[in-house]
């Protein structure tokens, strides 16, 4: 994981620094007296690409991501304020996806090709085809503008007031999570169907076990394994795709920060924020791998050998 992270860091730096655009020119626009070469020097842009890469890399390893060109703050401070926002959005969306998706998938798998199954799968297909910003706009129209149940945009930190946070978060989390719940439902269904045809389920049925016990005790545990990987992937996807929902609901998260910083060529912030999101995703994957050893004894056995 660590070599991957270091390579990710280098790739981030390279991509961001070949973006054509001169941050010095933008900074000069703000104060008309400045000499552009002086500004460039202050930003460190007069040095060669490799020098800058080496410098940034060494500082990054020491936990210093440099200073924003325009915000007058260190990159780390800027990102620190934004990361919890994106985390709370992605986590709430993941909760929606899991709470809606898994029961629907199980329901659909209980009677394959029944009316219930076909309609759940139909809805889920529509779900995976609907962009989250379109769903978000529909929800906003119905629940915020017409019914006025929830605010249409904005954000309150959870530490300030849980209820305010939840009221702000519910529409974005639904918009962002429901599409993923459709995907989870599809996966859960196919995983359940596969398990329900296994020999040990037939054995359990043959010895007269009730269907409820079979599903809850024998099938679910094993059907859940592939879903765990999918949940990890989805969480990564949510963390990386949050910027669209953030921009629609005006939530000041890390994704929104990346977008606005790319627009003004604030490269240190873009690099730092991209790096943070990539690191978060690597950590999520690591956690999923560790969880696997708890849920699936076979994985643990192999690693011990």
């Amino acid at each position: 994981m660590i070599p991957t992270f270091l390579m990710v860091a280098i790739v981030v730096f390279c991509i961001v620094n070949i973006i054509p655009g001169d941050p010095a020119a933008i900074a000069k626009g703000n104060d008309s007296v400045g000499d552009i070469n002086l500004i460039r020097e202050r930003m460190g842009l007069n040095r060669s690409f490799l020098e800058r890469l080496g410098d940034w890399f060494i500082h990054m390893l020491q936990g210093d991501l440099g200073d924003s060109y325009f915000l007058g703050r260190s990159v780390l401070d800027t990102i620190k304020a934004r990361i919890p926002v994106t985390l709370s959005l992605a986590t709430s969306a993941l909760l929606v996806a899991v709470i809606v998706g898994i029961p629907l998938g199980i329901l659909a798998a209980l009677k394959p090709n029944s009316f219930l199954d076909t309609s759940i799968m139909g809805f889920s297909l529509i779900g995976v085809s609907t962009p989250e910003f379109f769903l978000g706009l529909i929800l906003m129209f119905v629940f915020a503008l017409n019914l006025k149940w929830f605010p249409s945009s904005g954000y309150t930190p959870i530490t300030e007031s849980f209820i305010k946070w939840a009221r702000h978060m519910i529409l974005p989390a639904m918009a962002f999570g429901l599409g993923q719940s459709a995907y989870i439902a599809r996966l859960m269904r196919s995983s359940m169907l596969e398990i329900m045809n296994q020999d040990y389920i037939i054995t359990a049925r043959a010895k007269g076990q009730s269907e409820v016990v079979i599903i809850l005790k024998h099938a679910l545990k094993n059907a859940f394994l592939p879903i765990l990987t999918a949940i990890g992937m989805i969480y990564a996807l949510l963390l990386g795709g949050a910027f669209i929902t953030e921009s629609l609901f005006r939530i000041p998260g890390a994704g929104a920060l990346i977008i606005s910083s790319i627009r003004k060529f604030d490269f240190p912030v873009v690099q730092g924020a991209l790096l943070f999101v990539a690191a978060a995703i690597l950590i999520v994957n690591l956690i999923i791998d560790i969880l696997y050893t708890f849920v699936d004894p076979r994985v643990r056995f192999e690693t011990k050998k």
Binding site: T130, V277, L282
Partner: protein, 283 residues
């Protein structure tokens, strides 16, 4: 795929796939013919007909500049679909080349897969946004950025398919009689990966449309005056209350096209590879 006739017969019997084909066909006709034959200029500003709801004159209503929404969605759809097609072609060509290189040489394979892992550990949309900033936010820039962001997926799927095929008896037989590795790769292994590739690229077409819409929606993709489904919807967000149709129609256009492609992808997967259970359209 036993024969072409058999393939088409099986497709025709797959009703949900046929629905997908019909929706896609209608979308393509609208997107191609309206900009060609309509005499309404999609960018013409007309303050007298601002924010008119759907009527006989403007079947999808007008936007805040009085522009005809239907013409704009059709021209914007052209941009979205062209980007989807370009990404599909680009990832196919790049993906096949890179996967073949990886399948050809084990050392190259290690390097290539490491690189793909690094690229895959980025969220593809954020990568695409950064790359769009590199290549300019024109239609071509967005296509190139999305192609680079999505190629690792194609490479991964193709490579695993190539590795499985390499173990097949007929490949061993070809090696045994001394066929050159390159010939084996192109003539005996590549055709075998075709079903996997076709299904993967159909879904990629759908993702590319969604991704373009997403990055244009936040304003860093295709720029006005070039309309795309993403930026039409983005313009409409502030009009949600007073003119909901300006949001509904472009949103429905994206949704239906992506739905059609997902239906076709699912159908193709069933027809080309009946062994696999249907289910995961997103991986």
């Amino acid at each position: 795929m036993k024969s072409k006739k058999n393939f088409f017969q099986r497709c025709m019997k797959n009703y949900s796939m046929m629905i997908g084909v019909i929706i896609l066909f209608i979308t393509l006709i609208v997107v191609i013919s309206v900009p060609l034959f309509s005499d309404i200029d999609p960018n013409k500003i007309n303050y007298e007909s601002m924010l008119k709801p759907p009527s006989a004159l403007h079947i999808m209503g007008t936007d805040s500049f009085g522009r005809d929404l239907f013409t704009r969605i059709a021209t914007g759809g052209r941009v979205s679909i062209i980007i989807g097609l370009e990404v599909m072609l680009g990832t196919t060509v790049l993906g096949v080349l890179i996967a073949l290189l990886a399948g050809y040489n084990d050392k190259l394979d290690m390097i290539i897969m490491r690189l793909m892992d690094v690229m895959m550990s980025f969220p593809s949309l954020l990568l695409a946004i950064a790359l769009t900033a590199v290549f300019s936010n024109s239609i071509e820039g967005v296509s190139i950025a999305l192609t680079i962001a999505y190629t690792p997926r194609t490479v991964r799927i193709l490579r695993s398919s190539i590795l499985t095929l390499r173990e097949e008896t007929y490949v061993e037989a070809a090696q045994a009689i001394g066929v050159k590795p390159i010939t084996i790769l192109f003539k005996h292994i590549l055709p075998g990966t075709l079903p996997v590739l076709i299904v993967q690229e159909t879904f990629l077409f759908a993702y590319a449309i969604l991704a373009e819409a997403g990055i244009s929606f936040v304003g860093v993709g295709v720029q006005p005056p070039d309309a795309s489904w993403g930026n039409i919807l983005s313009d409409a967000t502030t009009l949600l209350h007073e003119a909901p149709w300006t949001v509904m129609f472009p949103g429905l256009a994206i949704m239906l096209t992506v739905l059609a492609l997902n239906l076709i992808g699912d159908g193709l997967r069933e027809v080309l590879d009946p062994k696999r259970l249907k289910g995961n359209a997103n991986d």
